[in-house]
Amino acid sequence: MSEVREQIFSVSEITKSIKFILESTFEKISIEGEISNFKAHGSGHWYFNLKDEGAVINCTMWRGVNNYVFFSPEDGMKVTVTGRITVYPPRGSYQVDVRSMKPAGLGELQAAFERLKRKLFDEGLFDDEYKKQIPSYPKKIGLVTAADGAAIKDMISVAERRFPLTELVIAPTKVQGAGAAENIVENIKRLNHLTGIDVIILARGGGSIEDLWAFNEEIVARAIFNSKIPIITGVGHEVDFTIADFVSDLRAPTPSVAMELATPNIDDLKTFIKDSYSLSCELIEENLNNYKDEAEQFLQSYSYRFPLEKINKFNQTLDYEILKLKNLIEKKSTLLSNKINLLTSTLDSHNIEKSLKKGFALIKQNAKFVTRRENYNSNKPAVIKFFDGELEIK
């Protein structure tokens, strides 16, 4: 039989040995694998497995360390983790204490992007019916963007040039790296609590897919969707499309364009005012002329001329009647004057003096002419009146 004396370990002793060997051998290792059973615990720690076709290994990533991961890990994602192996004696288990994590390749991010896009699309977050109207004349524009950098400078100068009537309310935001997504979400919410913000611009200048990753995070997409204020996104360059762009109310290819879409052009407004003014000048002139023409036409119309004619006709009749009356009066007066002449001449012919001149004489008694024999009183004196004097008879 075997002469070799077998060494007997206690469980603790052997575990201690294993722990020493494993932890000293795998002090700093990188492992590539697919995430499964990912759990972000309330305490802030992450627990998950990495697996490939043949094996599984437990992983932990502590709060504070996992802050530096720029994306949200999820099941099925291929990642490369760096860390060390630790052994937990009470459970007799070993695990990877992950210090850093990154996607196994750009393809992984792309795949995560497509998965989230699909999911949110299916939920209806991109539907047109949820797109809010962008106001034409914003009084206040909220900016969720980095306080320094080209993007904000560009946006300010665009606002200054196009629509200086507005007020920019800047929420300085971390737009890149760990915690960026959370900060974006927080500032969208903060602006929603302010009064009078008409539109929010969520913007970031150009960068790599990793730089822009915060805009592909689910929490950002949901914050955009839940915002009561319409949001315009202007992230990266023309070619960059993020999840935020799909869910936002309006997507602009760059931050500058986002500001352009949010503001009317002051030059257009001035032109509009000038045009309106000159148009109304033309219109009022036209209107006045129309009324003038109408008035003139009216005056020249038959209905207006007719009463004049009638008056003229009436005048004519009146003139005629007056003439007739005049003739009549004239005729009558001639007749009368003739009669008067006749009478006058008759009277003339009876003139006593004329008879006396001819040689006739008149006899007067008691100062009265005696024209008949029977009236003569021979006892009384009489006077004979001759043409050339009177003779008394006693």
């Binding site: 005012i273 309106s276 009022i284």
Partner: protein, 75 residues
């Protein structure tokens, strides 16, 4: 008669201006109304223009702490 006051926003003013021109275009309008509208429009154009000429961009920055947010809300 319109009771438009200067307290209206530039948006409302511009809209009113548009309404005035389109009403003036309407041939049914009375002479009196059209003159009144024209006068209002002329005044409004002047007002809008001077607002646009005088405009200056205002920029405020939100502070990190929550007290400031509350102040901002009350503003």
């Amino acid at each position: 008669m319109s009771k438009k006051k200067s307290a209206d926003s530039i948006e409302e003013k511009l809209k009113r201006l548009e309404t005035i021109t389109s009403t003036l275009e309407d041939s049914e309008i009375t002479l009196e109304d059209s003159i009144e509208l024209f006068e209002e429009g002329a005044k409004l154009s002047k007002e809008c223009f001077s607002i646009l000429e005088k405009a200056e961009l205002k920029i405020t920055t939100l502070k990190k702490d929550l007290d400031k947010i509350n102040n901002q809300v009350e503003d």
